[in-house]
């Protein structure tokens, strides 16, 4: 099992001929991922790391049966690339690109919902199911196959935590980096729901940050719908305050959004909250 990506995942790399696309195509293949196609308009017919490149996603899907896409194209063209994948019937679009305009993000997420596709990101490191497949830029060496599901808003901090799990002998079912942008395609709740339903996942680690109310909402969801033990770390207790979004920001947030608010909400939902990142591995080991 695992969630979202596994041995049946056939990956299409959008922007495969760029520096990042090329490098991570190689890294994903090294992880054991079945990378079947790349797309760069105008570069159809080439090969990158042995992967055939097409001009359009539709063509790539028709020729290779790709069912998952990873997007490395520059921010101004990201929405178009994501929409192209959705229209070609791709059901999971992992959007690595950062600095995607927030209105583009809203639009493409709405469109994905209409068409029954799922977006991870934008501005995310992607996801990895050790022993099965990786669709993302997470470092290959930190993972170990196992039964802990990891979901996180952060990048390096996630690697740090996953690595500490692996060093402690605790393997992971799937690690999902949902992305650090205000508007993202899949949030904590949606991934927690998948982990709850995944028979292979026994415990869940959630890595949050200050800002927004996603962690507070996740806490509500956990209270009602998650039976598996959840461990969390929230970064930013002592971080400089974020930008103020007018009165509207305060009205929407209503005092939530701080590390304290998030930790309180999670703890009251029965989540064990670590004080330092590496403490999560100790907590899981102890239980």
């Amino acid at each position: 099992m695992a969630i979202l990506v596994d041995k049946n995942t056939k990956v299409l790399v959008q922007g495969i001929t760029g520096h990042q696309g090329r490098y991570h195509t190689m890294a994903m293949k090294e992880f054991g991922t079945n990378v079947v196609a790349g797309v760069t308009p105008g570069k159809g017919g080439q090969k990158v790391e042995g992967v055939p490149v097409f001009n359009t996603v539709q063509e790539a899907v028709n020729e290779t049966g790709a069912n998952t896409s990873i997007v490395f194209v520059p921010a101004p063209f990201t929405m178009d690339a994501v929409l192209e994948s959705i229209d070609a019937g791709i059901k999971l679009v992992v959007t690595i690109t950062e600095h995607v305009p927030v209105h583009d993000a809203m639009k493409m997420i709405s469109y994905a919902k209409m068409k029954g596709s799922r977006i991870i990101g934008p501005n995310c490191p992607g996801l990895a199911s050790p022993g099965k497949a990786k669709v993302g830029i997470l470092p290959n060496l930190i993972f170990k196959e196992g039964n802990v599901g990891v979901v996180s808003r952060s990048g390096t901090l996630t690697y740090e935590i996953v690595n500490s799990l692996t060093e402690a002998g605790i393997g992971q079912s799937t690690t999902v980096g949902i992305g650090g942008d205000p508007v993202i395609g899949s949030n904590f709740i949606e991934i927690l729901d998948l982990f709850e339903k995944d028979p292979e996942t026994e415990k869940i680690v959630m890595v949050g940050e200050i800002g927004g109310t996603a962690e507070e909402e996740a806490a509500e969801f956990i209270k009602e719908h998650v039976s598996k033990p959840v461990y969390a770390y929230i970064a930013g207790r002592t971080a400089p305050p974020g930008k103020r979004m007018g009165h509207a920001g305060a009205i929407v947030t209503r005092g939530r959004g701080t590390a304290e608010s998030k930790i309180r909400a999670l703890e009251s939902a029965g989540v064990k909250v670590a004080r330092i990142p590496t403490e999560i591995a100790d907590m899981i080991k102890r239980d």
Partner: protein, 367 residues
């Protein structure tokens, strides 16, 4: 990018939202002859300027000039007043509130309105607010404005009037790629509704689509500005430990662990996902100028290799030596090689964050 009130109002006007006919001055001589009463509004990027004395009224040209010379150069919450917006005083019958904001939870826009606008808007309870998410693909629809009008208790004439403003503000929000478009207060005058104030934050990632928009520099310390110019995410804080880490989440976590052990960060410097030696060098240049007692480097090597970063650090301090000691925590891919490279240069290199933090706090003068 947060815009000044006068810039936001200009954009609002372009999208059909009535705003007072004002003008901007940078020195008192630019005051035009005053007929009736005028308001002089300090243009700063921070809220609460009214309570801080940044908004004044004048009834004559002379008085206006006098007030202008008092306001210009004044300090409001750390922001220096460089421009004033001069507007005729509006006859206000009632103050409302209206805004669109990007709503993270719904991943749609949120429309917020209230019949109780003004400075106390944040304490208006939820049941007195009109809040509705607006899907970006379908946009604002007549039924939403009807519901808003019922909630705000508007009559037919007012409803017709606010319809134009809601559509206008939606147009501002979507066409200008805003994170926030806010009118507070939206005032009812004898001539209908008017935006007495205007707040507009343009989404930073969308600025490439608005090349002709005047850029607003936020208030930064000289060092922060220098960092920004080099594309480095850097914030100056009040502690004495200069933190460099890779990734925003990890940098925040580093600050948290420092604080747990009694240390206090003096900088927040996120290297991002790079191991480009040039970027590492620039980061050390920036941090070398910060008033700190120790540099704390926290690197998790994943895609970024630990030894590459370590080499970059050594090159940087060889070219421009630091005046303060460095403590490093190095973990991940090629961790041993990385630590070895640093230790050769006499830099304390640890594997666990806690060990490294304890050392840094000790060097910084203890908890």
């Amino acid at each position: 990018m947060k815009l000044y009130e006068y810039m936001a109002k200009e954009i609002f006007r372009k999208h059909g939202i009535p705003v007072p006919e004002g003008y901007v001055i940078e020195n008192p001589e630019e005051i035009k002859p005053v007929h009736g009463e005028v308001v002089l509004k300090s243009q700063v990027l921070v809220g609460g300027r009214g309570k801080a004395g940044g908004i004044k009224f004048a009834s004559s040209t002379e008085e206006a000039r006098k007030i202008a010379s008092e306001l210009l150069g004044m300090d409001i919450k750390g922001y220096k007043v460089k421009k004033l917006l001069i507007e005729p005083k509006i006859e206000i019958q009632k103050e409302y509130y209206l805004s669109f904001i990007v709503d993270r939870s719904s991943r749609e826009a949120m429309l917020i309105a209230s019949a109780e606008g003004g400075v106390e808007i944040e304490s208006v309870p939820d049941e007195k607010l009109f809040k509705r998410t607006i899907n970006p693909l379908i946009g604002i629809q007549p039924n939403v404005i009807r519901a808003l009008s019922y909630k705000l208790g508007l009559n037919k004439e007012q409803m017709k009037d606010i319809t134009k403003i809601v559509y206008g503000l939606w147009s501002v929000f979507t066409q200008e790629d805003a994170d926030l478009a806010e009118i507070n207060p939206l005032v009812l005058t004898p001539d209908g509704f008017m935006a007495a104030d205007a707040k507009l934050i343009i989404n930073d990632d969308s600025l490439f689509r608005h090349a002709d928009m005047e850029k607003v520099e936020e208030e930064y310390t000289p060092l922060e500005r220098k960092a920004r110019e080099r594309g480095i995410a850097f914030v100056q804080l009040d502690g004495n430990i200069g933190v460099i880490a890779n990734g925003a989440g990890l940098t925040m976590a580093t600050l948290d662990v420092l604080s747990l052990h009694g240390g206090k960060a003096g900088t927040f410097l996120d290297l991002g996902g790079t191991d480009d030696p040039e970027k590492v060098k620039q980061a050390f240049e920036i941090i070398g100028e910060a008033p700190i007692d120790v540099v704390f480097l926290n690197i998790f090597g994943g895609i970024t290799k630990c030894d590459t970063v370590a080499k970059g650090v050594v090159d940087a301090i060889k070219e421009k030596p630091l005046k303060v000691p460095i403590v490093a925590r190095i973990k991940g891919v090629n961790e041993e090689e990385g630590k070895e490279i640093l230790r050769k240069e006499g830099i304390g290199a640890f594997s666990t964050l806690e060990d490294a933090v304890k050392e840094a706090v000790k060097l910084a003068g203890g908890a």
